[in-house]
């Protein structure tokens, strides 16, 4: 590059997507949606033992408006599902979701009439963390994996639109209706 040979180490050239991705990945503001014991593990992640501040995500945002990382920690019941849905859609783009623990990821041991069998049924999920509850290290690992994903995302990535249309894709309209009709015909 011309400018670097001219000015030496005083400047760095990069792409705008990479620069934005780099700054986003070290300034994630998590919104802890803690409904069960996974929330207790998350508390110790925030404290000095595990110290989430090392990854630039030490500021838990207790309002979805200012958050860009939704961490779902615990069992989501069908009665809680609309609340989670609303919180996800109250967050501004770009936004990411970590599903922490067996309950949030799959309903866990609660195969019952009242528990949502995984939050992916209502909102898109970026990272699943297995465990019941997972160790705090598992959260740190998932955050590092998410940071890689965030850094690779383009500023003009149409994925945001795709995320917003996720619900219609999954359940709302054509695909779901077609599969429903197919099962009826069989």
């Amino acid at each position: 590059m011309g400018i670097e040979t001219l000015l030496g180490d005083t400047v760095l050239t990069t792409k705008i997507s990479e620069f934005v991705g780099w700054s986003r990945k070290y300034s994630l503001w998590p919104f802890p949606f803690a409904t069960a014991c996974c929330g207790i593990e998350y508390m110790s992640v925030l404290n000095s033992d595990f110290d989430l501040a090392r990854f630039g995500a030490e500021r838990p945002s207790f309002s979805p408006r200012q958050a860009d990382l939704l961490v779902v920690l615990g069992t989501i019941t069908y009665k809680m599902a609309p609340v989670l849905w609303q919180i996800y859609h109250s967050m501004s783009e770009p936004k990411w979701v970590i599903s922490y623990g067996a309950c949030a990821s799959s309903g866990g041991m609660f195969r019952s009439y009242s528990v949502l069998q995984g939050i992916h049924l209502i909102i898109p999920v970026d990272i699943y963390v297995p465990g019941c509850p997972p160790r705090p290290e598992a959260f740190l690992d998932s955050l590092i994996k998410l940071q890689k994903k965030v850094a690779e995302e383009s500023v003009v990535n149409p994925e945001y639109k795709a995320k917003a249309d996720y619900l219609e894709k999954a359940l709302g309209s054509t695909e779901y209706q077609i599969s429903k009709n197919n099962t009826k015909q069989q």
């Binding site: 069908y78 009665k79 009242s114 049924l121």
Partner: protein, 181 residues
């Protein structure tokens, strides 16, 4: 205390049997606690008496719940509604049971103990027993659009497939705007 309790129980039992000479009314002692079996039609009178009579003075409704005896009893005696009472004056406890068939109503006691309001709604929600005269006989635990009463013994363990509850979020999405209503 056990000795004193049983003396008090005998006294109380004689008192109650004397005051309620009606059909279907029995009092028995079970593990130190008197258990009253009563008809739904006598319930409000009985509960009023248990609360106001100076010898009884059961001023606290500890709990109100129901039991489903499906396949163990005939259909006309399917449910028991159970009331646990306690007296802060005499430190005595007592249990009242009312047997109801499916579809029949039980009179509310929320006019006697205000604390019966929400437990009665919970029993309605989970067992489908309607309490007549209750101010708000609506679901309290399950989502409003839930179908069925999940603590009934004929409700499947793994649910009836509650995907319709998610679909309803898609069809009638909650307000994701400013939240001001």
């Amino acid at each position: 205390m056990r000795g004193l309790n049983s003396v008090l129980n005998i006294e109380l039992k004689n008192h109650l049997v004397k005051m309620f000479p009606v059909r279907g009314f029995t009092v028995e002692e079970n593990r130190g606690i008197l258990v009253i079996q009563a008809d739904a039609s006598d319930l409000v009178n009985l509960m009023n008496f248990l609360k106001t009579d100076p010898l009884c003075d059961f001023n606290v409704l500890i709990d109100l719940t129901a039991v489903d005896y499906l396949h163990k009893r005939t259909q006309d005696k399917r449910f028991d509604v159970v009331y646990m009472l306690w007296s802060t004056a005499t430190m005595q406890r007592i249990r009242v049971k009312v047997t109801v068939a499916e579809g029949l109503e039980v009179p509310t006691v929320s006019g006697i103990w205000k604390g019966a309001n929400w437990p009665e709604r919970e029993v309605f929600d989970l067992f489908g027993i309607v309490f007549s005269g209750h101010p708000v006989m609506e679901r309290i635990v399950m989502p409003e659009n839930f179908r069925g009463h999940p603590l009934r013994k004929d409700f499947p363990l793994e649910g009836r497939g509650e995907e319709y509850l998610i679909e309803s979020i898609m069809i009638h999405p909650p307000d994701s705007g400013s939240g001001s209503k």
